[in-house]
Amino acid sequence: MTDSGIHITLQQAAPIPLSVQLDCKSGELLALVGPSGSGKTTVLRAIAGLYQAQNATILCQNEIWQNSVQNIFLAPHQRHVGLVFQNYALFPHMTVLENIQQAISQLPKQQRQTQALELLKKVHLEGLERRYPKNLSGGQQQRVAVARSLARQPKVLLLDEPFSAVDQVTRRKLYRELLVLRESLSMPMILVTHDLDESTLLADRIALLHKGEILQTGTPEFVAAHPKSATIARLMDQQNLFTALVIAHDQAKQKTHLRWRGILIEATYQEQFAINERVCWMIQSANILLHRRGRPSNGNKENPLQGQITEYMESSGLAHLRVQVDKKLDTTISINVPLHVAKRNTLGLHEKIGISLLSEGIHLMPYQVLRNES
């Protein structure tokens, strides 16, 4: 049980199925990630007291906000929670300053004004205090919403897809601002997003939510590289996901050998899977080595494969390749390489290339049927 963070347990079968257990420490930013309709916003609303789950325990900074067994449920206004809504939900009939002051209405007028102005300065909105929300840009509205949510000195800060309503340029700017701002914040922070890049950039840990159930939590990098199941790998947008058969373990060399459509693959030792057991396996693009033409290296010896580029796209300084590794097997692997590497190796559509799958990057998972196995 956390002492200075937030501990959340939500269980219910209907109307919205929920099976959630989350902890977020003070100063930690936890991203609640999942596809649309997975229940992310419902979890956030339950924490804020805007939704009452049937079986729930929510303990924040040693204060019970909800306990279904003891029949305790604090209304939203009784919880010290800062919530930034997806569309910001600013009060349209109030100025920027008045919007922020609403969260500290218990303070004397002068103190209220001083604190609100300080917060505006913190979110770089000095000089806009007399404006109405309709006269602000999306990015400015988001900053007002953040300032308002912080005004009450919340015990937890909840951010419900706060970057979804702004353009990409503004979004990047707001990412940087949030990263700077969070350094000065000591409360637990929970960010809801369906954007994996966003969660990787901003969060200390992610919790992957699917159909109301938390499937895995961990650092974004760990969950992406070590998903517990193929479903999680898919949700983490893993492109190279396949099935194979475990054929041998070599404890001395710390290797596990797989047969993937007739090709022998060497992975790091993963003894939890028995010999002759069918498994799913995946490899991230970062663990696929492109053979330099004419200059073989040692890495080339690791699970070497020859193939032909069947798809080639360039964007944001990267070349996205789909490589058909065996025509007869009809198996393709996705690779992203820096554009300059692609240019230097004269990569292009229908070009033949060699790749290596680094064994340490091959991650095994329990078997499940994969739709459209690539």
């Binding site: 919530l83 997806q86 609403q102 969260a103």
Partner: protein, 222 residues
């Protein structure tokens, strides 16, 4: 011009508003935000005065409050008064008759406030009563004022239900609409014309005011 009838009509309108304002806000807000069993039936009942001829409604009120039976008899026995052929009766009938004109615009005005705005207010630490006072009422006020203006004008010009429930007692239940009818019956066309024109003018002003309010509200919050 029958100033006494006009004064009675204005008084009736104001007293009706006094009751309709809280009723409309509470019922309109409740219907806007809550889903419950029987909501459609309740809304149908509340909308009935929109389509029911005023005389029919007046007839049922007359029967209901007849001092010889049922509710009317209970009122006489309990409070020593009745709700027909007196000013209180007119007020009660006006409230019933104006319910849809008060509740519908207010319900629409409350329903137009995004749920997130109300929730953001709660997350700012506002109690529900404070959310109503500081957020909902200012955002719904144009709808509330429109409803009140329409109810005022409607009560001022109501004829059928007033005649059925109140009769035609000068200084007690004779409103301006009944006074116009009275003048026409007694061939005093001049007085009838002046009073009719006054009501026409007032109605036009009322409608213009509500349109102006609605446009102003859209400009403010867009």
């Amino acid at each position: 011009m029958d100033w006494q009838a006009l004064a009675l009509s204005v008084k009736l309108s104001f007293v009706t508003l006094l009751f309709l304002l809280p009723i409309g806000i509470l019922l309109g807000r409740w219907l806007a935000y809550r889903q419950f069993w029987g909501k459609s039936l309740l809304q149908t009942l509340l909308a009935l005065p929109l389509v029911l001829p005023p005389t029919v409604l007046g007839y049922y009120l007359l029967v209901a409050f007849s001092p010889n039976q049922g509710l009317g008899l209970w009122l006489v026995n309990t409070f020593g008064t009745t709700l027909i052929f007196n000013f209180q009766g007119l007020v009660f009938a006006s409230i019933i008759f104006n319910l849809p004109f008060a509740i519908h615009p207010m319900q629409r005005a409350f329903a137009a406030i995004p749920r997130e705005i109300r929730e953001a207010a709660a997350c700012c630490g506002m109690r529900p009563s404070l959310v109503l006072w500081k957020i909902e009422l200012p955002l719904a006020w144009s709808g509330i004022i429109s409803a009140m203006v329409i109810c005022f004008a409607h009560t001022l010009g109501e004829f059928g239900i007033v005649l059925m429930v109140g009769g035609n007692i000068p200084a007690e239940t004779q409103t301006i609409a009944i006074a116009i009818y009275d003048r026409v019956q007694s061939f005093d066309d001049h007085a009838a014309a002046i009073m009719s024109f006054s009501l026409l003018l007032f109605s036009m002003l009322t409608i213009s005011f509500t349109y102006w309010l609605s446009a102003r509200s859209e400009r403010t919050h867009d």
